[in-house]
C-alpha cells in the first residue's frame, strides 16, 4: 500500500497544491498538474450534472455534493473529498490502499490548521507553507507505518 500523489483544487478549478507522497509516484511537471487539476474539476462538475438523481443521503459526511468520489483503475485508485466550501482534496494511491478517506479528512484538518491560519496565506492561492507540507509528509508516514504493522 502506497500513497502516490496529493493535489488540491480550489473552488474555481485552479490547482493550489500538488505533491508526490512517495518516491514511486510518477514524475509529472507542474504544468501537467495544473491541467490535471482543472480537468478533474470540470469532470467533477459534469459528473455532478450528469448524475440522474441526487443521492438522498450524502454518504460523505464532510463532503459537499454528488460528484466523483472515487476512480478505480488497474494501477491506481483516486479518491476525492470536496469540502462544503468547494475545495477538492484528491489523493491517488496504489490499488488496495486502505484508509484513503481518513487521510483526506486529516489533510483537510491540516489545511485548516497550517494553511488557513497562516496570516500570509491568501485564500484560493497556491499553498506554500512548509508547515503544511511537513505535516502532510508526517501524516502519510504514520498511516503507512500503522498499515504495515496492521498487516503483520
Amino acid at each position: 500500500m502506497v500513497f502516490l500523489h496529493l493535489f488540491i483544487v480550489n473552488k474555481s478549478g485552479g490547482l493550489i497544491h500538488h505533491r508526490a507522497l512517495s518516491p514511486k509516484a510518477p514524475q509529472i511537471g507542474t504544468n501537467e498538474w495544473l491541467r490535471i487539476g482543472s480537468t478533474f474539476h470540470s469532470l467533477y462538475a459534469i459528473a455532478n450534472e450528469a448524475s440522474p438523481m441526487k443521492l438522498s443521503q450524502n454518504k460523505n459526511v464532510s463532503g459537499a455534493d454528488d460528484g466523483i468520489e472515487e476512480i478505480q483503475a488497474d494501477g491506481l485508485v483516486l479518491r476525492c473529498l470536496q469540502t462544503r466550501t468547494g475545495i477538492k482534496f484528491v489523493v491517488t494511491a496504489e490499488p488496495g490502499t486502505s484508509d484513503i478517506d481518513q487521510v483526506l479528512r486529516e489533510i483537510y484538518i491540516l489545511y485548516t490548521d497550517c494553511a488557513l491560519k497562516d496570516p500570509f496565506y491568501e485564500l484560493e492561492m497556491p499553498i506554500r507553507c512548509e508547515l503544511f507540507t511537513t505535516s502532510v509528509d508526517a501524516l502519510i508516514r504514520t498511516m503507512e507505518r500503522s498499515a504495515r504493522l496492521g498487516i503483520r
Partner: protein
Amino acid sequence: MSKATSNGQQLWNKVPKANAELFALTYGALVTEVVRDADENLATVNEKLEKIGYSIGIRCVDEFLAKSNSPYCKTLAETAEVLGKTAFRMFLGIVVDVVQHSPSSFSLNFQDNPLSLFVELPENYKELEYSILYCGVIRGALEMLNYKVDCQFVKSPLKGDDTHEIKVDVKQVMSDGAGEDYQEE
C-alpha cells in the same frame, strides 16, 4: 440535549484553550488601536472591525467543518442550530440560544461574551459596536456556505440590555455551478 449541543460540548473539550483574560485584553488592544487609526470615527471603526471578523469567518468556517463532522444541514433552521450550539461552543465555549423568527432569519442569544470581559463603554463611545467582530465572522462563514446574510447586534449589555442578541437575516442563497450566462435556454 440535542445532537448539535453534545457535539459542540465534545469539540470544546478537544480544542486547545487560550487564556480568557489574554484573549479579552488582546481584542481590547485591537479595538482601541482601530479606534485610534480611524480618528475616533465610530462608524468607520464598526465597519473595520466587522471586516476583520469577515476575514476570520471565511477561514475559520473550514476549520469548523473539518473538525466537527457535523451532518449536512438541509434547512436554515438546522444551519442556525449548528452555528449557535456547535460552532459557538467549539470556538468560544459559550452557551447560545437559537431563536427562529422566520424561514430566513434567526437570532443568537447569549449571556457571556468572552470579548467584552472587562469592558464598559464610555458615554461618548455609545455608537461603538464593541463585539461586532462576531457579526463579521458569521457573515464570512455563512458566505462560504452560499448564504448571503445581514448580521447585527440588536441587544448588548454594554448598551444596557440584559443579554446579547445577534440577529441574522438571510438576504440571498447563492447557487453552486455555472453562472446564469452558461445555462441552457
